[in-house]
Symmetry: C2
Amino acid sequence: MSPWKAAHVGDHFDQIDTPALVLDLDIFERNVKCLQDALAGTGVRLRPHAKSHKCPDIALRQIKNGAVGICCQKVSEAAVFVDAGVQDVLITNQVVGAKKVSHALDLAARARIGVLVDHEEQIRAFAQASETRKVKIDVYIEIDVGMGRCGVDSIEQTVALARQIEQAPYLNFMGLQCYHGSAQHYRLPQERKDAIAATCATATATKAAIEKLGIKVERITGAGTGSVMLERDSKVFNEVQAGSYIFMDRDYAANQRDGLDLPFEHALFIKSAVLSHPTKDRAVVDAGLKASSVDSGMPAVWGRDDARYLKASDEHGALELTVDSTLKLGDAVMLIPGHCDPTVNLYDELICIRGDKVEAIWPIAARGALL
Amino acid sequence: MSPWKAAHVGDHFDQIDTPALVLDLDIFERNVKCLQDALAGTGVRLRPHAKSHKCPDIALRQIKNGAVGICCQKVSEAAVFVDAGVQDVLITNQVVGAKKVSHALDLAARARIGVLVDHEEQIRAFAQASETRKVKIDVYIEIDVGMGRCGVDSIEQTVALARQIEQAPYLNFMGLQCYHGSAQHYRLPQERKDAIAATCATATATKAAIEKLGIKVERITGAGTGSVMLERDSKVFNEVQAGSYIFMDRDYAANQRDGLDLPFEHALFIKSAVLSHPTKDRAVVDAGLKASSVDSGMPAVWGRDDARYLKASDEHGALELTVDSTLKLGDAVMLIPGHCDPTVNLYDELICIRGDKVEAIWPIAARGALL
């Protein structure tokens, strides 16, 4: 990491060195409240996904505002949050290998921990290790609801796995993980509606088949920022896992034109600066591939219409300028990342501003927690 | 970062937890020797680019093997290497803003430091600050040799900048940065030959125009892994900056079919593992966007032909399997990243193996050094 800091608490916005990851606290707080308000009184719990922010300061604020706990994607990521005081973490992923199972059970001895399974071998490993160690852990079966990644895609097989979990004394069968990741990014509202309707039909049928055996399906959980209102209103889901809503990246915001989504606002920015301005129609900023993930497209230039982010190389971002552009060497350029999750994972700290002052600096403590 | 380590020195390869960034030391050492041997006796110096590895252990080995120093892309990155004992760093980038100029001069007081300029304002800032502090710093003019990013694109303007540098008592005009980044990735050898021939013509003409004023152009520097033999044989360049040759990613290796390039081998791998195997034709590994940058395409599966890496999401990599695939849940899968530089920047450590043993663990100390 850098031997010096991009900013210090109390700095003016102009003093923040570049590139830096900047969180606008007023907007962040509105986003947190917006989703919590939308869920209030519906009986649907919020368990926001912490893979988006990897930041205990944010998780603790989400919980203080009503979230029941958080989701993580990796055992080592979950460990960072448990160390910071989060008491309820669902690892929305399969945990495979003796080392990882052992680390997950270490955490389960200290906090409420859940894991996903989609294969009998995963259940066998957790059944044996949890019994040996006398540590209880929550287990959810992941259903492939249409995204074609992990998850079981037959009711028969899901029922067999539920029965296997029930038979293990230290495994606590909780329910079904029904996350449709790709649906989050469908541009047409009707496509998203259809995808989540199909997800709900699968979840309902699977739940019924399991409960026919007398095994309670307490939780149907899933959903992300791009579809969360659909799951909220489904009468099928009783927990949602949106994560990106606190930040709103360029890709999610592109869906908001249609009225299906809550009015989340951009709260996360990359502050960059012009380091070269070689021609009238081109400037280069100091934020490239190591400052903004481009897997969902280039970052957007924020708050000015005389520049467009055209191309990223490792440490450069080439901007195309209009003929009347006023951008100068050294000027700050605020960028909205295309995809917030892998972008946040590039930084060690979030520079939190309110108005034009740096109010706090929050460590992205689970950055690089890959194991 | 993860609260526990992926591996320890002495571990067997099978014990390395996943995902982890693995360097094969035998291959790495062959790559280092291969380029050094290719330059021996040519009068062309090697100043390898450290933005690829961000690892002082590697830089010090490159220097021990004959490199004159290193390149960095950021001032904070350079600081990490100077702290580790590297005495000669060229920052191949424009350094803009009072804070950054001041940090660069801090380093120049402790080691030989160079920076690039392509605008009179950058020179003015360094001229004033270096004179105030009585600290000398090397300055190179960046020429736009065809990649259309930073750099001056007229000889007249370059000559004016050289004169401006010469007049500043603490600025040491060294020569020209003539890096053609895009040429590194042209697939056809003839395209690369043409691009570097044009680069050399521009460099030669610019040098002549500057030297006509009695200003010595001591150094013409540039080149990368995809074109380094062309610059070596150019009689124009006297320093080359290849970086990725030590690792060889999938993209650079795709150029090696044609005999233009040195026989660098893949030395850098992501060790991943199968966490889900939901259907006969699909498995999912635990290395996604946060374990491998996909800006130059998906990683390649190494050493097996029954699986292809199809799609990356944040923490998942979906593999397409052949009908006779033998891949099982929990199996290790070695991946070759599409682009090594931003992939290395995702990890805190390089797990260095020799044969099937972990011989060393090298911190990627400049990871995240963005400033």
